[in-house]
């Protein structure tokens, strides 16, 4: 039993770091691409509204990445049966929602 627990703990430790890696890559370079495109348009056609619009879209996409990362991490913890950490992820999401609501109200 003790050996099983050791192995389970080892596997958990080894597999813990990178559940959200793909999301992080796609989100980072996708949002940076949109922002970059927006900046290029602002430089070439300063009076156009397309550049600022693309930039803001890229910034909003960027904001979504950490939130989605918490969702993916939480899902991964739940899938592995690590209920306390999955619940913590849920608590982070609730706190983030509260933060946005309180911030918007201010």
């Amino acid at each position: 039993m003790a050996e099983f627990q050791d192995t389970a703990a080892h596997e958990r430790e080894q597999s813990s770091p990178v559940p959200a890696m793909g999301l992080l890559w796609a989100g980072t370079f996708g949002s940076a691409g949109l922002i970059g495109l927006g900046v290029m348009v602002m430089l070439t056609a300063p009076s156009s509204t397309l550049g600022p619009t693309l930039t803001v879209m890229g910034l909003i996409a960027q904001v979504a990445v950490p939130v989605l990362r918490v969702v993916v991490d939480g899902w991964e913890f739940a899938r592995r049966g690590e209920r306390p950490l999955a619940l913590l992820s849920l608590a982070v999401l609730i706190a983030l929602g509260l933060g946005m609501a309180v911030g918007a109200a201010h």
């Binding site: 890696m21 992080l24 910034l59 909003i60 960027q62 904001v63 706190a95």
Partner: protein, 277 residues
């Protein structure tokens, strides 16, 4: 227009390098640079800085996750404290005198800089006994340290006091707008006794989540000026990716020495605001 955008981009690269290496948002560089060098209004500078924190976090996390330097389990636990702290900070805003808070936490930062100076030669924490919470959640970790050329196994202690400091860090950054990243690193390094490289990398991972709530509020309010925030976000992202390349090859003791002046600058910024407003 081209020159100004290029200048924002270059300043942001520097902020990204420092921010990603030390686990900070980079506001310590971006806000003064935008306001003092380019004459940007403080409100706009803070909005650009808050939005760019996410870029620092994303750029840094890519490599640190790959290197095993981010402890996602610790991050998830501490994130609860930091985010709830930020909400509490926003709720009690106006009830507390910010001058007193600036003085208190400026003093605390100065003391932390002194503690960091005393431990400047410390490569890795020694004889760390994991506490019950750390054992229960299996928070321990390991990573390959390129500078030391070996795998480092580490344990975590004083998890609940660390969580309390993280709550405080969230509240302070919510109330004062600065110091959130620095407090996160200090909580993990000095309270929970994690290796400084893991503390910085995990903080870099966490600051993106904390900044998400603030960023969306700034974006919805229309405080974010695309002509400023766009090049800043791109520069910070590029800088963060460069900074991680440097950090993974750096010794923990070197990172500590880099941290000391940054803590002092934050301490002075806070104390000046506390005294003068």
């Amino acid at each position: 227009m081209v020159t100004t955008i290029l200048a924002y981009f270059l300043v942001a690269i520097l902020a990204g390098i420092i921010g990603s290496m030390l686990g900070l948002g980079g506001g310590i560089i971006i806000v003064p640079a935008l306001t003092l060098l380019f004459g940007v209004e403080i409100h706009t500078a803070v909005a650009a800085s808050v939005v760019s924190v996410i870029a620092t976090s994303m750029g840094a996390s890519l490599r640190y996750l790959k290197e095993g330097l981010i402890n996602t389990r610790v991050a998830m636990l501490l994130q609860v404290g930091a985010t709830l702290g930020a909400v509490s900070g926003a709720v009690v805003e106006g009830l507390l005198d910010p001058h007193i808070l600036y003085l208190m936490f400026g003093g605390l930062m100065a003391y932390s800089a002194y503690s960091m100076y005393q431990a400047r030669r410390l490569e890795l924490p020694q004889n760390v006994e994991p506490d019950a919470v750390s054992r229960r959640l299996a928070l321990q970790g390991s990573y390959y340290d390129q500078a030391l050329g070996r795998v480092v196994d580490y344990q975590i202690t004083r998890t609940l006091p660390g969580l309390a400091v993280m709550y405080l860090s969230g509240a302070i950054s919510g109330l004062l707008g600065i110091g959130g990243g620095a407090f996160k690193v200090l909580a993990m390094d000095q309270v929970m006794r994690m290796p400084i490289k893991v503390s910085s990398a995990t903080s870099a991972y966490m600051i993106g989540v904390t900044a998400a709530a603030g960023s969306i509020v700034y974006l919805l309010r229309g405080d974010v000026v695309p002509q400023i925030a766009g090049p800043v976000a791109l520069g910070v992202l590029a800088g963060a990716m460069l900074g991680t390349l440097l950090m993974v090859r750096m010794r923990g003791s070197t990172l500590r020495k880099l941290f000391i002046p940054v803590l002092l600058v934050i301490a002075v910024q806070m104390l000046v605001k506390g005294v003068g407003g």
